[in-house]
């Protein structure tokens, strides 16, 4: 496979010098994201996210399986991330690169381990049957800040997803098809979002949000903060790179909170818009067999 073309020395210096003069190549502010777009498909649980030129597609699917022996009361929830040659010819099929491993790990920590999805609600018959919810993250185009875009896509797809309705009568489990009963949403507890900071300069004194691919290749360090709109931090990952001062990091988390709030309101708006689009005759409330909490 061909190697990814590295930016030349001139390019690198140009980017760094421009940042030193408080300028970004695309004219954005340092704490400004590229335009974020989110579209849902006709099916439930498909989210297409574009962040500038980065494009991520997340698809959620569910099926009934046997739970793990050591966790008989929990459902199965997996996030699958695979970077194919579509994102860049440097990525090979079936051979994960470091980017891919880190991305999968971060999504795992942010969405799964933070308990965003209530896995106990996926249990159908203890120790015998449970839902297996799977999120597939497909990176269609990679132009930097894959982590934030993927995390947003995963959260959006999961919140948009509906799983088939089930009932248990005298020990007999029935899974209803979409034609019989309207599918029900997942039991969702909170929406975590990733906000990635990139640091530049000799001591990492310049901090950027939403770095593009060119900027990512030049950065000296990066830090990903995952938090929800209530300011509850799920994880902070700073994997190597130059050390950054604690005060600067605190400032970063403060800004990350406002960004998480923005993401949250944006997603809520999009979901409401989509629900309205689907609810054409106003029958959704009647069709739903869901109980209010």
């Amino acid at each position: 496979m061909p190697r990814e073309a590295e930016p030349s020395l001139n390019e690198k210096q140009f980017i760094v010098q421009a940042l030193g003069e408080k300028l970004r190549l695309d004219g954005r502010e340092f704490d400004q994201y590229r335009p974020l777009e989110l579209t849902f498909g006709d099916q439930y649980g498909v989210a297409n996210v574009t962040l500038g030129k980065t494009r991520v597609l997340a698809k959620v699917s569910a099926e009934v399986t046997v739970p793990y022996v050591d966790r008989p009361l929990d459902g199965v929830f997996t996030i699958a991330t695979e970077l194919g040659p579509m994102a860049s010819p440097a990525f090979e099929v079936g051979r994960p690169t470091e980017t891919e491993v880190l991305l999968a790990r971060l999504l795992e920590k942010t969405v799964r381990r933070s308990g965003a999805l209530d896995t106990e609600s996926l249990c159908l018959v203890a120790g015998q049957k449970c839902w297996s919810v799977r999120v597939d993250v497909h990176v269609l185009a990679h132009d930097g800040n894959l982590i934030d875009a993927s995390c947003f896509a995963v959260v959006a797809a999961l919140r948009h997803f509906r799983k088939p309705d089930t009932s248990i009568a005298s020990g007999q489990l029935t899974v209803y098809t979409p034609a019989e009963r309207e599918p029900v949403p997942l039991s969702w507890l909170h929406s975590p979002f990733c906000v990635t900071w990139s640091f530049f300069g000799d001591d990492g004194e310049t901090a950027l949000l939403d770095a593009t691919w060119a900027e990512e290749q030049v950065r000296v360090s990066s830090c990903t903060v995952s938090l929800n709109r209530h300011g509850e931090i799920c994880q902070i990952a700073k994997l190597g790179g130059v050390p950054v001062e604690a005060v600067a990091l605190l400032q970063c988390t403060a800004v990350a909170l406002t960004k998480a709030k923005e993401f949250s309101t944006f997603l809520d708006g999009k979901l409401a818009e989509d629900a309205k689009r689907r609810n054409k005759g106003g029958f959704m409330a009647e069709l739903s067999s869901e109980n209010d909490r």
């Binding site: 698809k59 699958a80 194919g84 799977r134 899974v175």
Partner: protein, 252 residues
């Protein structure tokens, strides 16, 4: 569900060529990189290696995807001028985005069954992406899927069958033709007679190889009368590329 096919060219910024194709509930995004350096094991001394990767929307690819890959790969090797690029690789990635739902059954993630109805979408997306990547080709290709459904003793042909039709279908056929009206691909599944296959062939030929109506005339009149036979794939391919070229060459 789109009844008429829809396509956009060059949707991905970093790939050499790309296309997004939606038809009959299937949406496929294709990217083409090539000619690029091939790995040692894929290197052919006299021709380019065409590498097709089919990635399902949900789940990891299995035997089903490998089978689809082999079908698409053998068809595309016939079209691409592989002899022009010895020791090179032309990499085609086909990402399935959506497949039509059947509201009457709960789908299992891993299905061992063949998935013929998606082949036309995959092939069409691949051809459009190859055009977008400006890979030299002998001809373009158009494809369609036809199912033979028996209802109350009579058999009828269904073009672009829905998942419901496929449940009842006796046989499913995928046919692809080059732009020189040559048969490129013929894959069939199920019980059928030679006579039925001939009928399927005629139906597919009508969709894939309708004479191009470059100027308003007799051909256009013919199109109207045969509207029920499905969309005109060749005209679709042509108009998509024409629209893209017109948009690209438009400046000021």
């Amino acid at each position: 569900m789109t009844v008429i096919p829809e396509a956009t060219l060059s949707v991905l910024p970093r790939a050499d060529g790309s296309a997004r194709y939606a038809h009959a509930g299937y949406t496929v995004t294709a990217s083409v990189n090539g000619p690029i350096e091939a790995q040692r094991r894929d290197e052919h001394a006299f021709e380019a290696h065409v590498d097709v990767v089919v990635r399902p929307a949900a789940g990891t690819g299995g035997t089903r995807e490998r089978h689809l890959e082999s079908i698409i790969e053998s068809s595309l090797t016939q079209l691409i001028l592989v002899k022009n690029f010895p020791r090179q690789l032309i990499q085609i990635v086909l990402q399935i985005e959506t497949t039509p739902d059947n509201d009457y059954v709960n789908t299992k993630l891993v299905q061992a069954s063949l998935n013929f109805p998606i082949v036309p979408s995959l092939l069409q997306a691949a051809v459009l992406a190859l055009i977008s990547a400006a890979v030299p080709m002998r001809a373009t290709a158009t494809a369609s899927v036809v199912a033979v459904v028996s209802q109350e003793g009579t058999k009828r042909l269904v073009v672009d069958p829905s998942p419901r039709d496929l449940e009842q279908a006796q046989s499913v056929h995928v046919l692809a033709f080059t732009s020189h009206d040559e048969l490129l691909l013929a894959e069939s599944e199920g019980d059928f007679t030679v006579k039925e296959w001939d009928g399927v062939y005629e139906a597919a030929l009508k969709i894939c190889c309708r004479p191009t109506s470059t100027k308003a005339g007799i051909d256009v009149m013919l199109d109207d009368s045969e509207d029920a036979a499905g969309s005109d794939m060749r005209q679709f391919l042509r108009s998509t590329v024409e629209a893209k070229v017109a948009a690209d060459l438009y400046w000021k």
